[in-house]
């Protein structure tokens, strides 16, 4: 008997943050997020495919498939060729299916928009943005071959392929050595207010995007002596508060805020490298004003957004992962425990807000690119935002039909004289 010799296969362990996603992804919350780039003209699928083929060369890790071992999930390299297709699924539709061996991302085009949808285990917002930027870069260079014949605009992301595949958690954190394990986080599992509502058909994501001027919103934030993210987070809390009834106001509103760790620790990885923090606001009896909320959460941002706090939090997670007892628990039981723990954590969260920040592209591309947008699948109303040039896009995703919170949020800004363009998928 002779079995055919196969090519050697490369496999990688999941990083600390990735481990959570395959266990908790389901039909209700697919753990998929989307980054889009809207141009001023129709997308040519053939050029896009060419650009994708070129892009994937610099991101070989994106060709991974996710597989189940006996104790852990792992990424396995594949020979699959990613193909662009016209957008045909609802926003952030499931990608990971444990029974099929498929890529963990997809590239869609629709009219003037290129969208990249990614399963979160593969990468975080920043990593995916690097991929999309490279894709758009190649697309425009191919599309305007004549113009960029002699001189190619520079894309300022030149990390080596190895650097892009880095498990930066492993690099910067060692886990604690037993000393802090006894320090139980007395964050007194508070129950947060939870937004309820009628779900959309087939649990599809309802997306509402508001595009506005960065300068104008920044101006409003400055008036309140705060940053853009904090201002919008406070406004989000305020909009939720306005929709709560008196009894519900006994519970605090807690927002989960992802933190990009690349700003604290040196890393060029295109994989996951983020942590999260919670900011909360407990209402008192009297009427609450927006400025009260801003004050309060500015304080928690200052308090929690320090390298020490982040170190402490992640090292705890890492030591849990490295704990010998945890390691030898079979995967199905691990999955189950992660799901249970996730349910507990969920009780303490009302919503989430995530700011990807400024998207930089070579300035030669300015005439072609209208805006960048980001949104995610969500179990509860969630805001994602990013800006390109002076266009800030704030995307609300929600599994609920109701849009009152979104209406209040945008109405508050439009009442300040900010011009807003709203687009929505439903």
């Amino acid at each position: 008997m002779k079995l055919k010799q196969s090519k050697s296969v490369e496999w990688t362990k999941l990083d600390n943050a990735s481990k959570y996603f395959p266990a908790t992804a389901n039909e209700l919350d697919t753990k998929v997020f989307r980054l889009s780039c809207e141009l001023y003209e129709m997308i040519d699928p053939n050029i896009l495919q060419k650009a994708l083929n070129k892009t994937i060369e610099s991101f070989p890790f994106f060709k991974s498939i996710l597989r189940r071992g006996v104790f852990w999930y792992y990424f396995e390299s594949s020979d699959l060729i990613p193909e662009v297709s016209e957008e045909s699924l609802s926003i952030c539709a499931p990608i990971y299916n444990k029974n099929t061996k498929n890529l963990l991302f997809r590239v869609f085009y629709y009219h003037k928009r290129i969208s990249l949808e990614i399963f979160h285990a593969l990468s975080d917002g920043k990593g995916a943005l690097l991929f999309l930027q490279t894709l758009v870069y190649h697309y425009l260079v191919y599309r305007y071959e004549e113009q960029f014949k002699n001189y190619k605009p520079a894309l300022d992301y030149n990390a080596s392929i190895k650097k892009k595949m880095d498990d930066s958690f492993n690099k910067h954190f060692i886990g604690d050595n037993g000393f802090t394990r006894n320090v139980i986080d007395h964050n007194k599992r508070i129950k947060a207010h939870r937004i309820r509502g009628k779900r959309t058909e087939e649990n599809r994501m309802k997306l509402i995007e508001g595009t506005m001027s960065v300068k104008a919103v920044l101006g409003e934030a400055k008036k309140n002596n705060t940053s853009l993210t904090i201002y919008l987070a406070a406004l989000f809390i305020y909009s939720i508060y306005k929709e709560m009834n008196a009894i519900e106001r006994r519970r605090p509103i807690v927002l989960s805020v992802p933190i990009n760790l690349r700003q604290f620790f040196e890393s060029d990885t295109a994989r996951n490298f983020f942590s999260t923090m919670n900011v909360s606001y407990q209402f008192r009896k009297e009427e609450t004003e927006l400025k009260d909320i801003i004050e309060s959460i500015t304080e928690s941002f200052q308090k929690d957004l320090t390298v020490d706090k982040i170190n402490y939090k992640i090292n705890r997670l890492i030591s849990l992962e490295k704990n010998p007892f945890m390691r030898i628990i079979p995967l199905p039981i691990k999955d189950y425990s992660i799901r249970m723990a996730n349910k507990l954590v969920d009780r303490g969260i009302t919503g989430a807000i995530s700011n990807i920040g400024k998207v930089q592209m070579p300035e030669e591309f300015e005439p072609y690119i209208r805006q960048f947008t980001v949104c995610t699948s969500a179990r509860r109303p969630q805001i994602c935002m990013c800006s390109y040039g002076d266009r800030l896009v704030i995307s609300f995703t929600s599994p609920f039909k109701d849009t009152e919170i979104q209406r209040r949020f945008f109405e508050h800004l439009s009442n300040k004289g900010i011009q807003i363009e709203i687009s929505s998928n439903m």
Binding site: S6, E86, N99, Y110, E202, T403, E411, S414, I422
Partner: protein, 220 residues
């Protein structure tokens, strides 16, 4: 772009109502582009599955009814029940694991072993499950797995672990022989012999692949 005077926002796309407040928007007669595709709802009705479920229940009810009307020594409703359980379990496994053919075969073999012993025991132990069903299914699975893998051009690493597992299963009948649990010996002996030859072949020729696969799947 249309303007909603209630929310004081511009609405992009071909909307008739404001996304935020749901009031109707003024008709501007402009050609507005659609921003998102209309995705039809997927109806997960699976009519075939429903019909099968209905027939299963009907058959079970009828068999119970018939036994009450025409009493006999044979416990026919139990046969029907066991047959249905067998069918449904296999069906579920096939549907759930359909993307991994080697895994499906392994699951079917394990299921078949357990169910056949159960059958044999429930209808008065005659030993046919250990005599024939187990050894034959292990050997059959080995060949089926190898042939399908070749036909479907699966890469070695996709099925090698399942083949190894089935080879190990195939050695189990040696226990039946040693403890004298069986009356007919030759299927078990053939099964064990083939399994050992098979195992030695894959270990000698594919040992490296097996090691890599196991490292990957068993990493802790």
């Amino acid at each position: 772009m249309k303007y909603c005077s209630h929310c004081k926002v511009y609405i992009r796309g071909d909307k008739l109502q404001c996304t935020l407040c749901e009031n109707s928007l003024p008709d501007t007669h402009d050609e507005e582009e659609t921003l998102f595709p209309t995705v039809p709802l997927i109806f997960q009705s699976h009519l075939a599955l429903r019909i099968t479920a209905f027939i299963s229940i009907a058959a079970l009810v009828v068999s119970f009814a018939l036994k009450e009307i025409f009493p006999s020594n044979i416990n026919s409703p139990l046969f029907v029940l066991l047959a249905l359980v067998t069918m449904w379990l296999s069906l579920i496994v096939v549907i759930r694991k359909r993307h991994n053919i080697a895994k499906t075969i392994m699951w079917q073999v394990s299921l078949l072993s357990i169910l056949s012993i159960l059958w044999d025991w429930r209808i008065g132990w005659r030993g046919w499950s250990l005599d024939y069903v187990l050894p034959i299914s292990y050997v059959a699975a080995m060949f089926v797995m190898y042939i399908t893998a070749k036909i479907m051009r699966l890469s070695v690493r996709d099925y090698i672990v399942y083949l190894l597992l089935d080879g190990l299963f195939g050695i189990i009948p040696i226990v039946f022989v040693l403890f004298d649990w069986i009356t007919v010996y030759y299927p078990s002996i053939i099964c064990v012999a083939i399994s050992i030859i098979f195992l030695s072949a894959i270990l000698i020729f594919e040992g490296e692949n097996i090691k890599i696969e196991l490292d990957k799947r068993m990493h802790i």
